[in-house]
C-alpha cells in the first residue's frame, strides 16, 4: 500500500491507500471525514463531490493517489471558526434539503460554480448542478439557494470593499 500525504482542508494527512483505492473511501474510512457521501460509485449522482484545487470532482472515481498533489476541500473544510460560507448559509435559509444526504455534494458543487462564476444565470446554475442528484426532489430550493448565495457573496464583497 502506498503511503500518501493528502492535503485535506488545509492539513497534510498521512494515509495508507490501496492500489487504485478511491479518494472517497480514504476520506470516509481512513480519515474519518464521513461528510462526503457514497451514492453510486459511478460518478452519476454527485453525492461524493469534493473540490480538488477548487474544481468539483467525483471522489468515488478519483484514486486517492491522483489527489496527492491537490488541495482537497471536503464539506467539513468549509466552516471556519463557527462561520458558515455564504453557500452553506443560503442552503439553511432556503431549507434546501429534505433528508440531507445529497447536501454535501450540492454545497460543494455550488461553491465551485460561484467561485468560477459569481453571478450565474438560472440556466447556468441548472447546467452546472445537473450532475448532482437529489432523490427527495428539492431542486427548486437548491437553485434558489445558489441564487441567494450568489447575491450574498456580492454583499459580502461590497462590505469588504467598503471597509478598505
Amino acid at each position: 500500500m502506498p503511503d500518501l500525504k493528502l492535503n485535506v482542508n488545509g492539513t497534510l494527512r498521512p494515509v495508507r491507500a490501496g492500489e487504485g483505492e478511491p479518494l472517497l473511501w480514504v476520506l470516509r474510512n481512513k480519515l474519518g471525514l464521513t461528510g462526503t457521501k457514497y451514492g453510486c460509485g459511478e460518478g452519476q449522482c454527485g453525492a461524493c463531490t469534493v473540490l480538488l484545487d477548487g474544481r468539483p470532482t467525483r471522489s468515488c472515481l478519483t484514486p486517492a493517489a491522483a489527489a496527492a498533489d491537490a488541495r482537497i476541500t471536503t464539506i467539513e473544510g468549509l466552516e471556519h471558526n463557527g462561520q458558515l460560507t455564504p453557500v452553506q448559509e443560503a442552503f439553511l435559509e432556503e431549507g434546501a434539503f429534505q433528508c440531507g444526504y445529497c447536501t454535501s455534494g450540492m454545497v460543494l458543487a455550488a461553491t465551485a460554480l460561484l467561485h468560477e462564476k459569481p453571478h450565474p444565470s438560472e440556466d447556468e446554475i441548472v447546467e452546472a448542478m445537473d450532475g448532482n442528484m437529489c432523490r427527495c426532489g428539492t431542486y427548486p430550493r437548491i437553485v434558489a439557494a445558489v441564487r441567494r448565495a450568489s447575491s450574498h457573496s456580492e454583499e459580502k464583497k461590497e462590505a469588504a470593499y467598503a471597509r478598505r
Partner: protein
C-alpha cells in the same frame, strides 16, 4: 437474504402488528428517569393508535401498552421518545413543534429520541402517512397533560388555585404574586408520573403559536456542514468492513465457489454458510477487492422479462367477467373501455441500505437505515434465534427511503458477518445491489370501463387493478354502483413492496386519464366535467384552487403547448395538479410548469409541508416520464443511474405548491399523496397538445 414477497400495502403491516408489552430494559429505563416528570400514553386507549394497530385494549393492564412518552428533567429539558423515524420528511421537527406548543415550552428545549428500540416504545413503523395523524395527537395530548401536572404541582407548592396560574416559555407563573418556577424546578426531586388513556382533547390549530409555523429543520446545520451521522457513517471501535457475494440472478442456487484467492489476501476473512458467501476486511477497499477475486458459479432458473410482464400480472384475475356493470354501460351515451399500465420502478434512495452490527456478550446491536426499526429487530431476533431483549436496533436519521426501506436484509447480513468475525462489521450496499436486491414498486395493469351521459353525468364505473395494489382504486366521483377491485398476483416476477403512495399513483393515473378521455369524448372542459361529478367539498376545493392559480381555461392548448389537470384524495390528503407541457420541434416532451394545490387539514409546518409536497411532485415526474426497471432472466438490466434515469435539475419544471390550511380539521399525513396527480396531469396535457393518449407509465418511453 432475498425477500421474495413483501406485503404490498402498509395497512396490512398495521393489521399484522401486535401490541407489545414492556420488556425489562424499558422498565429499567423508566426507573432511571424517575426524577422529573414522566407522561406516558396507553396506546390501546388512544383513539388514533387503536385504529393504527387495528386492535383494541387487548386486556393488558396499564401502563404496559405505551405508544410514546415524554420526560422533563430537573433542568427543564424535555425528551420525547417515539418509534417514528426521520427520513427527510421533517417529522423530527414537526413533532417537536407540537410538543412545544401544548407544553408551552421553548421549541429549543425539546429533544426527540427516535427509532432506538431500547429506548422508545414499540411502533409499527414510519409509513402510510401515519406519523402526523397518529403520533402528533398522542404527543400533543401527553404534552398537554404534562403542562396540567406542572400547573398542579406549582399550585400545591404555592397553595394557589391551578386555574389562576399561567404556563408559558417553560415556566409556571403566578400573576397574583409574580412568583415563577421553571418546569425543571417544579419537578426537581419529585417523581411525577401519569399514564393517559381515552380520547385526546386538543387545542384548536387556530390558537397555535409554535405548531403551524415554518420552523426550520432542527438539524439543518449538520446537513450543510457534513456532520450529521447517517447510518452509513456510523463507526464502532475495531470495526471491520463487509461485502456479500451476490448471486447471478434471482432464485439462483450456488453451484460452486472458489474463494482461495480472496482468503490469501492479508486482513481478509471469507465466510461461507450454505449459499451465503461474505467477506470481512480491515478496510472497505480490501473487502471490495476480495469479493472480486471470488469465482462463484450459480444456476439461475429461467424467468420472464419486461416483454411478458403485463400478461403475467393479469394471471391473478382468473375469470374476471368484465364487465360487471354491463347494464349501466349499455345505457350510457358515451362509453370508455381502456387499459393502463405502470412499470416496476425503484425507490433509489441516495443513501443505499447500510448497517453496522456489533455483538457484545450475546447481545446484538445494529445501527441501520430503516422505516421499521422494530420490524428489523424482529427480523434479527428471528434470524439469530434471539430473545427480543437481546437485540437493539438504532436508526440514525437516514438518507431517505420513500417506502423502500421497510426490510432488514442488510442488517441481517451485517450481523451475520459480525458474528462470524467476532468484531463489529459495517456493510453498505452498492448502488447496483440497491437496484437489484432491494424491492420495487409493483408494476400493474389497470382496466377501466366507464360510461357517461352527454350532459356530463357519470353513470357507470368499473376499475380493476392487477398486481399493483388497492390504494386509491376507489373513485371519489359520484356514480351509482361503481365496481373497483384489486386482483392480487402472488407470483410477481420481481420482489415488490411499499413505495411512496403505494398503488394510489397507478390507480390515479388510470382514473384521472380515463376521466380526461371521457371529458374529451363529451367535448367538456376536463375541470368542469370533474366538478360536475364531485360532491366532496375538500376535493372540489383543491381542483378549483389549482385551476385558479394555474389560470386554467385562459389559454387553449395548441400543437406545441398543452394543459392538463388531475387530482384525487388518499390517506386524508387532497390534491389537484395542473400541468403545462411543451412539445418541441423534435417532438420531445418538456414539462414546463406544474401548479399543485394541497390540503391535509391543519398545517403543522408550512415550510416543511411545502418542501415535502414539492419533492413528491418532482419524484412523480420520474415515474410519469422515464423511470422503469428493465429485467430479463432473473436480472435487472438497467441497475445503474447511467441507465435508470431519475429526475434531475434539468427535468424540473417551474413548480408551485398552493397549501390550503384547514385549521378546523385534524392534520393528516402528507408524505405520499402529493405524488398521485402529476402523472395524469402531464399525460392529459400531452394529449391536449398532440392528440396522442399515453396510457402507460413511464410515458416518455412509451412515446419514443
Amino acid at each position: 437474504m432475498r425477500v421474495d414477497k413483501l406485503t404490498l400495502e402498509a395497512e396490512l403491516h398495521e393489521v399484522r402488528d401486535r401490541i407489545r408489552i414492556f420488556d425489562l430494559d424499558r422498565r429499567e429505563f423508566l426507573r432511571l428517569c424517575a426524577g422529573g416528570l414522566l407522561v406516558t400514553m396507553s396506546s390501546s386507549a388512544a383513539g388514533p393508535l387503536a385504529q393504527e394497530s387495528g386492535r383494541g385494549f387487548g386486556g393488558h393492564p396499564l401502563p404496559q401498552e405505551v405508544s410514546a412518552w415524554i420526560h422533563i428533567d430537573a433542568d427543564g429539558r424535555v425528551t420525547v421518545y417515539t418509534g417514528k423515524v426521520e427520513i427527510g420528511q421533517n417529522i423530527r421537527t414537526s413533532l417537536a413543534q407540537q410538543v412545544a406548543e401544548e407544553l408551552r415550552a421553548p421549541f429549543t428545549s425539546i429533544a426527540m429520541v427516535m427509532g432506538d428500540t431500547d429506548l422508545v416504545p414499540w411502533d409499527a413503523g414510519t409509513f402510510g402517512s401515519r406519523s402526523t395523524p397518529t403520533m402528533g395527537p398522542q404527543l400533543r395530548t401527553m404534552a398537554m397533560n404534562a403542562r396540567e401536572m406542572l400547573l398542579e404541582a406549582a399550585a400545591e407548592r404555592w397553595k394557589a388555585d391551578p386555574a389562576t396560574l399561567v404556563a408559558a416559555d417553560g415556566r409556571v407563573r403566578n400573576p397574583a404574586t409574580s412568583e415563577s418556577l421553571g418546569y425543571g424546578e417544579i419537578t426537581r426531586g419529585e417523581k411525577l408520573t401519569r399514564t393517559l388513556g381515552g380520547d385526546p382533547v386538543l387545542a384548536s390549530a387556530t390558537v397555535w403559536k409554535i405548531a403551524g409555523t415554518p420552523e426550520p429543520k432542527v438539524n439543518g446545520r449538520q446537513f450543510v456542514t457534513g456532520t450529521h451521522t447517517y447510518p452509513s457513517d456510523v463507526v464502532r471501535p475495531g470495526m471491520l468492513f463487509g461485502k456479500v457475494v451476490r448471486p447471478q440472478g434471482y432464485h439462483a442456487t450456488l453451484v460452486s465457489a472458489d474463494t482461495s484467492a480472496a482468503e490469501k489476501m492479508p486482513g481478509v476473512q471469507v465466510l461461507r454458510d450454505g449459499d451465503f458467501i461474505g467477506v470481512v476486511a480491515d478496510d472497505f477497499w480490501s473487502a471490495e477487492q476480495a469479493v472480486l477475486k471470488i469465482n462463484a458459479q450459480w444456476k439461475v432458473p429461467p424467468q420472464i422479462s419486461n416483454a411478458e410482464l403485463f400478461a403475467e400480472l393479469k394471471k391473478g384475475a382468473g375469470d374476471n367477467g368484465l364487465s360487471e356493470i354491463a347494464a349501466a354501460l349499455q345505457n350510457a351515451e358515451i362509453r370508455l373501455e381502456e387499459t393502463y399500465t405502470v412499470a416496476y420502478i425503484a425507490h433509489a434512495p441516495l443513501e443505499p441500505r447500510a448497517a453496522v452490527a456489533e455483538w457484545t456478550d450475546g447481545k446484538l446491536t445494529v445501527w441501520t437505515g430503516t422505516q421499521r426499526p422494530f420490524g428489523v429487530k424482529d427480523d434479527l431476533a428471528k434470524a439469530f434465534r434471539l430473545a427480543p431483549g437481546q437485540v437493539r436496533v438504532l436508526m440514525p436519521d437516514m438518507g431517505s427511503g420513500y417506502g423502500g426501506k421497510h426490510t432488514g436484509e442488510c442488517a441481517v447480513e451485517a450481523a451475520r458477518l459480525a458474528k462470524a468475525a467476532g468484531k463489529p462489521v459495517k456493510l453498505i450496499w452498492t448502488r447496483a445491489e440497491e437496484f437489484t436486491w432491494a424491492y420495487f414498486r409493483p408494476a400493474g395493469v389497470m382496466e377501466i370501463h366507464a360510461g357517461a351521459q352527454k350532459d356530463g353525468t357519470l353513470v357507470a364505473w368499473e376499475h380493476h387493478n392487477y398486481n399493483s395494489g388497492p390504494s386509491g382504486v376507489g373513485t371519489p366521483y359520484k356514480v351509482a354502483n361503481p365496481v373497483t377491485r384489486y386482483h392480487e398476483w402472488q407470483d410477481a416476477p420481481l420482489a415488490q413492496g411499499s413505495y411512496r403512495g403505494l398503488a394510489a399513483t397507478a390507480n390515479h393515473f388510470a382514473r384521472e386519464t380515463a376521466m380526461d378521455e371521457l371529458a374529451h369524448a363529451l367535448s367538456m372542459d376536463p375541470l368542469e366535467f370533474r366538478l360536475k361529478n364531485l360532491d366532496d367539498p375538500r376535493l372540489k376545493a383543491v381542483f378549483v384552487t389549482a385551476g385558479e392559480k394555474f389560470g386554467w381555461g385562459k389559454e387553449k392548448s395548441t400543437a406545441t403547448r398543452g394543459f392538463g389537470i388531475a387530482g384525487g384524495t388518499e390517506k386524508g390528503g387532497y390534491t389537484a395538479a395542473c400541468a403545462e407541457v411543451e412539445i418541441d420541434a423534435d417532438k420531445k416532451i418538456h414539462v414546463r410548469r406544474i401548479v399543485q394545490a394541497w390540503e391535509s387539514g391543519a398545517v403543522v409546518n408550512p415550510d416543511g409541508l411545502r418542501n415535502q409536497v414539492m419533492g413528491a411532485m418532482v419524484q412523480a415526474l420520474g415515474g410519469a416520464l422515464f423511470e422503469q426497471i428493465e429485467f430479463a432472466n432473473g436480472n435487472v438490466t438497467n441497475g445503474h443511474f447511467a441507465e435508470y434515469r431519475v429526475p434531475r435539475f434539468k427535468d424540473t419544471p417551474q413548480i408551485e405548491v398552493i397549501l390550503l390550511d384547514r385549521k378546523d380539521l385534524q392534520s393528516a399525513g402528507a408524505g405520499e399523496t402529493g405524488i398521485v396527480a402529476v402523472a395524469p396531469a402531464v399525460g392529459n396535457a400531452i394529449f391536449a397538445a398532440t392528440g396522442e393518449r399515453l396510457r402507460s407509465m413511464p410515458m416518455a418511453r412509451e412515446r419514443s
